[in-house]
Amino acid sequence: MANPTAFLTIDRRDRPSAPVAERVRSWAEFVRPLPESEVRRQGERCMDCGIPFCHAACPVSNLIPDWNDLAARGRWREALARLHRTNNFPEFTGRVCPAPCEAACTLNLDDAPVTIKTIECAIVDRGWDEGWIVPEIAPRGTGKRIAIVGSGPAGLACAQQLARIGHAPTVFEKADRIGGLLRYGIPDFKLAKREIDRRIAQMEAEGVIFRTGIEVGRGVSVERLRDDYHVLVLAAGAERPRDLPVPGRGLGGVHFAMDYLVRQNRRVAGLDARDAPIDAAGRHVVVLGGGDTGSDCIGTARRQGAASVTQLEILPRPPAREDKGLTWPDWPMILRTSSSQQEGCVREFAVATEAFLGRDRVEALRCRRLDTGETLDVPADLVLLAMGFTGADAEGVVGRAGVELTGASTIATPAGRYATSREGVFACGDARRGASLVVWAIREGRDCAAEVDAWLRA
């Protein structure tokens, strides 16, 4: 701790965002970094707690107090090393993580937690800028080949960990580019895609082989991979969206959020859309679901020039503030406003959709207020379903891999373990855990790699 009383004398200051009017005109990231001196000051605020609640709340167990201190002292390179010890991709989490660490921060007792996420991002961005992030090539190989299905954060983390121990991982991706949801699920304004590209380059140099456009289970069989590789890791995600089987579901203009987002992301990437674009321009957009995906839809719709955006949430409006005495350091259920929501949308809570109204295309939603029981019609000409995911696609590799599944359509493993019911087949990420955060995916990939390594050595 460079300055034990900094938390009393320095106020919390976080990264500023570009003004709404400006940022909705662009697909670029709109969060602006803090100057180095300010990041260091913010790092000083960390108290190096005896029990770092942030660290305990962080799914990858980032050594937050350690790198906060190193950042505060301007020892960036050491901070980077410490950060990379637990997190393969801090540039992703530094941008898209909801930061349970900050909720758990001791200073959040006073609503002013350390800007942990900002410091994390500053450390890794600086690492890239300075050229410190270079391939970490294993001194010698083990000759063990591992097939990893899925190139989302879980698959990538697993692959990188294995490569660095000297194993030979090959990552199979059904899409045309590596990254999974990072690539096409998260809008560019939240995560610029060059962040993925330079990581991929590093990993390729470390010996990871990437095979895109191959859908395991269709293009290549699971059995083939079992024959060709010592280990098969399933990191194929949990992509099956929750549907809303109510009257009118078949109307035009009702889409799953992910279909909508992927198409837009491809457009921004300059790629040909494989399917017709879904454009919100000039439309009244209704987003069903109050989570992160819903927010991504809002931001995307705003940028496409939607006439209006309304977000309907089936749960009641959470309180504005938590009772810290009964919640801290846990993640509190409070009303949060995402950056996309700030960009302009109407939010309704405790509203259930009972039908989609319209002829061919949707024109309105018939809804019921769960608290009062009254019904209302919400006009809409584009409806995006962002109500979460219900597990892995049974038609995809997970369904065909011959491994036991859970009732929730995820891959079954013993608690805290990654080995599936099939010898030599492991699973990690959303495919095992169910849809979750990027940071959990990284954690799963890392732990899975460790288990695979132990299995290979046993």
Binding site: G50, I51, A56, A138, G141, I165, G166
Partner: protein
Amino acid sequence: MRGRGLYDPAREHDACGMGFVASIGGERSHGIVRQGLEILAHLDHRGGVGADPDMGDGAGCLIQLPDALLRDWAEAARIALPAAGDYAVAMCFLPRDATARAAAEARLEHFVRLEGQVFLGWRDVPVATEGVGAAVLAAMPAIRQALVARGAATADQDAFERKLLAIRKQTQNPLEALARERGMPDLADFYIPSFSSRTIVYKGMLLAHQLGQFYTDLTDARTASALAMVHQRFSTNTFPSWRLAHPFRFLAHNGEINTLRGNVNWMNARRRTLESALIGADLDKMWPIIPHGQSDSACLDNALELLVAGGYSLAHAMMLLVPEAWAGDEAMDPARRAFYEYHAALMEPWDGPAAIAFTDGRQIGATLDRNGLRPARFAVTDDGLVVMASEAGVLPIPEERIVRKWRLQPGRMLLIDLEEGRIVEDEEVKATLAAAEPYAEWLRQTQFNLADLPAAAAPAVASDPGRLRALRQAFGYTDEDLKLFLAPMAETAEDPVGSMGTDTPLAILSDRPRLLYDYFKQGFAQVTNPPIDPIRESLVMSLVSMIGPRPNLLGRQAGTHKRLEVAQPVLTDAALEKVRAIRDTLDGAFRTVTLDATWPRGGSAQSLDAALQRLCWEATEAVLADNNVLILSDRAVGADRIPIPAALATGAVHHHLIRQGLRMQTGLVVETGEAREVHHFAVLAGYGAEAVNPWLAFATIDALHRAGDIGAADAAVRYIGAIGKGLLKVMSKMGISTYQSYCGAQIFDAVGIAAEVVDRCFTGTASPLGGIGLAEIAEETARRHRLAYGSTREPVDDVGGLYAVRAGGEAHGWTAGTIANLQHAVRGLLPDKYAAFAAELNDRPGKPLALRSLLAFAPDGPPVPLDEVEPAAEIVKRFATGAMSFGSIGREAHTTLARAMNRIGGRSNTGEGGEEPDRLRSAARSAIKQVASGRFGVTTAYLAHADEIQIKMAQGAKPGEGGQLPGHKVDAHIAAVRHSTPGVGLISPPPHHDIYSIEDLAQLIHDLRRVNPRARISVKLVAAAGVGTIAAGVAKCGADQVTVSGYEGGTGASPLTSLSHAGLPWEIGLAEAHQTLLLNGLRPRIRLQADGGLRTGRDVAIAALLGAEDYGFATAPLIASGCIMMRKCHLNTCPVGIATQDPVLRAKFTGEPEHVINYFFFVAEELRAILASLGLRSVEEMVGRTDLLRQVDAAGHWKAQGLDLSRLLHRPLPPPLQAPAEPKRAHDAPLDAAMLAAIDAEQQEIVLPIRNVDRSVGTLVSGELVGRERRGRLHARFVGTAGQSFGAFAVEGLTLELVGDANDYVGKGLCGARLIIRPPEGVARQAAANIVVGNTCLYGATGGEAFFAGVAGERFAVRNSGALAVVEGTGDHGCEYMTGGVVAVLGGVGRNFAAGMSGGVAYVHDPDRRFAASCNAASVDVGPIGRDERGFDPAEPLADMLRHDDARLRLLVGRHAALTGSRRAAALLADWPAAVRHFVKVMPHDYRAALEAAPAAVPPVLAAAAV
């Protein structure tokens, strides 16, 4: 008595009162013997009484042989007795069994004849057994004397004495083996108290006054002696043991040898090197010189008799065994320094508090340890009598016949030569001995300091980061080692500090590979000996180490033996290379060999075993090949070589060489990459390393600092400084002052090491629970090695996680999860959350957190319905919150705990910071008032309003150390309560300066009972091996409760070294205390409280089953009130407003009494469920039921499976006689009763006679006045010698005038009264050259006045915070830790004046300008007396301490003259302007700065107290 339990008789302690009377002219008379017995009777209160009030701990008397008595007997027995001097008497304690006795007698007779002496006959010693306790008689030996005449071939009396020693040793040493061999167990009871042609010892398990009645020889008028040396014992045990009584053959001892295990080891290690021209071949018959299993005093006696037999004079031998502090004493005569320095290589000091009386029948004397930690007063009469004793006034002698009253000073000697008929003064004894040989010259020729030797080429520092990282991994370095230890140590040169104790598993329970050091817990001093303050009392401390072989102790080689000295034991790489190359630089005097302490990769137990074997053989070979410095080196570590844990290698070689008798022929240096923190160096030193080179620590520091602000070389120097300071602290917490004594002293308890490893490598170390063997040690080491070299990937540094929680690091009890669950539970009254909290801590299969995790309940009957179990509201009354001072935590937090405990009928504890007056009678009061070493806020009112008074002997987080409150935490409020100055930091001394020994504790308990007879008195101890015997001693001191605190505890700041490495878990300490108290029959007399890391109802249940009836909690209730374990208490930055005084932060405190209450009720409900499941209905039924516990199978745990908790669960059979539950509180206080009666009668004055047995006079009156809020004024005049604690806690309204003199602790806690002590009128002695009050006067005084017409002993006005005092001279350490008040010294002062003084003012008369050399100027300025008298108000002499010096001093001296009739004061006043120029003013600089910053900051409390 050794059962399967935890009690170990080797841990017994004793202390006592002792004394002698001698005729300087050597005139023998029966009167001397009678006077000796009288001294004994007057020391009665210094002894102990056990379960049987008719059984004492032992008393004895040594006199010259009573020739007339024996001659009459011989005549009657028709035995021809040769002339006096030509025959000797063996005093024998023989087995009572007739066969065994005959065998024993035959043995003695056999060896008498074998050694060419003449056996004359056996005399039955007449004894009278009336009035002697039944238990004593049951254990009484057959007491007979054997008379032996000098053989014709034995040249003279000295040679005769040597023969007698050889006979005694041969008779006695093999007895135990013989007893086993012959199936005659009683044979082992044969003991020979004395066997000499000059002296004889009469002793036994008797009360002091019984000795003379029992041995009728002593009261026989024919028994004449010129000397009588007596001793009254106070031991921690109550088992009848006749042989443990003193005196021994040469000495009687009051104190404790802290370094005993090392001293005995080193002595036995001399077997091969010891030769004596005088003793010759007989020496071989005497081994072991020091037999196993004796008391420390007996061991010292054995060493002394060997030295004397080897030709040393008594005085010479004593100077060798117990040298004064010479290393740092610049003022010492160079010849004497050379004498000590020369002898330092011969023998390591026997270190510890000690007043030792010694005699060989021709000379008699006494000496004191270097620190002066025991009292010894003497008087010389005009008719040639010397009386020396632990107390003054033990022999009533008319004042006018006394020509000199003095005390033994630290390290000084009193010697009376009866043959020359004179007292030989300390100066003369030592000057004569120092001049006897050219020691300085010898040193010049033979002594080499490593620093002065030419440099040798050092190996390049490893700097490749990858290689360094691999090495660090191989040696188990973590992030924390770098961040918390190496980096800050190399910056600040300090051992780092942390807070909130430790909540990680013991090394044996950890799932991680832990360093072997972590299995060793440092020992520390409590009750039976005091720790030292290594900073404030640095003058007695020394880190000097001698490397290489030791000379023959008895050889007198006239200085041909070359010696290698280092200033401190941490060697840089360059210094180590000098040692390695020393053969060339020193001409072959030293030959160094480096032994490889690594073993090949693969790492099995067998290969480690083989490697240790090889290492030991190589060591033997090397020594036999005339190499005399061995370096054990793990530099060969690499991908293929695994380092042997350095402690294992060191201990193995050290003990191997001891066993072979080769250890004294070689030095042992350890070159290891493993050692890095203070504790590591301490363990290596404790097991024999004379110096250590931590090469990897240096390489790491080099890498850290090569580019840093401070250069790498400077960083290394600071690191060495930090280790040195830390080592001094570790040594001093055991009361050891020199590295030489610490080296090999094995001051550790092992937790979790198997017996076979202990026996092989750490011989003699207590390891009560067994644990890991070589296989697990090999596995731990190999795991580290695999992390470094076993992976295809570059190793990653380990997070550690010992000091702050880290994922993948060490497990903790307090985690984000347990804290969140507990806090949510108590705030929302959510039982489910509490259950989740408790489950995380209680149910830990395979992941034990503490020893109790390995215990499970084993009901022996059906459960009972829950509603039949006593209600939670009853159970919570057994709960107490821990001692956290107001100061360390804020008022809000402190009162929250107090209110909560008062509401549920439990008890909160003030901690050591006093209590605000507005709380004393309110709902926010703390029922327990703590008395700690700093005595902050310990006023009479504070004590009088206590329900319980707790004497804190040690605290779990840092046993053996004192607390510190940094200045930034001392705001005006806290300063007022503590009677100190805002902004000025406060230091608590490591020891209570009125408790250096067990009988001192009895005295403090006596004082406190007098202040408040209604309060329960408890004593807080920290678990350590031997805590049971200390608890027994505490019970015998009359305490009502003893707290056994675990090492985990701790809510304040503490050095990390102590936080994790000192003390034992409470499970062990509690079980040992319970078992030992049961064995002693003392258990019903005292309540046992467990404390330290209790969190759940299950924890309480285990504590109850192990023997505790009360339970203390500190961290858990703090967490309930909002603490989140920031571990930043030492920084004042607590973000939840608990451990801080910052008002902004305190405002963040959200705790409510309800939270704490909810917590305790959750715990109680959990406990009730357990009670019900065990079929018990109340906690009372649960206490001590270890049969309801069983050890769970730890087979799943790779280390813990070796643990054996059966000794924890042992249920000893108590003796039939049990001490009554309500001990007799004999508070006969006739003098106080008379004073109270006088006050009631509204008398103004009273005159009373007083004697040394009248202790704590004035204390009961004061407690009565304050506690009952009565007002009274009285001037009481006493005539005679006052016992200890005269005027302790005496309050305003009382004037206590003593005509005569007083013993120790005069005016302890003085609280407003006026004390006057003066010699009687018409006595010729110079007051300023005679002692009038003893040691440690005015300790913790908060107000009042004291005028002493004479000299005071050591530590005058220690921690005075408000009294005014005038005295005519002081001993060492005057005004130590003083925080307020005024002291005027009209004469000389001893060394180290004003050490640690942070407030108040002292004036010292210094006409010869010698004061500067006596003053410890670290915290004070010394200047002239200020003459600014404007505005001085005589009614408020303390109003402005920056000014008014002249007037204030004159006022004091004037008052002194008027009240005492002091001639010195009168002379000064006669020419005041001239006199005042000879005074200096001593003022702490922090105090001055604080007053200058805020002149009005003198706390009102303080000003009011100064009447």
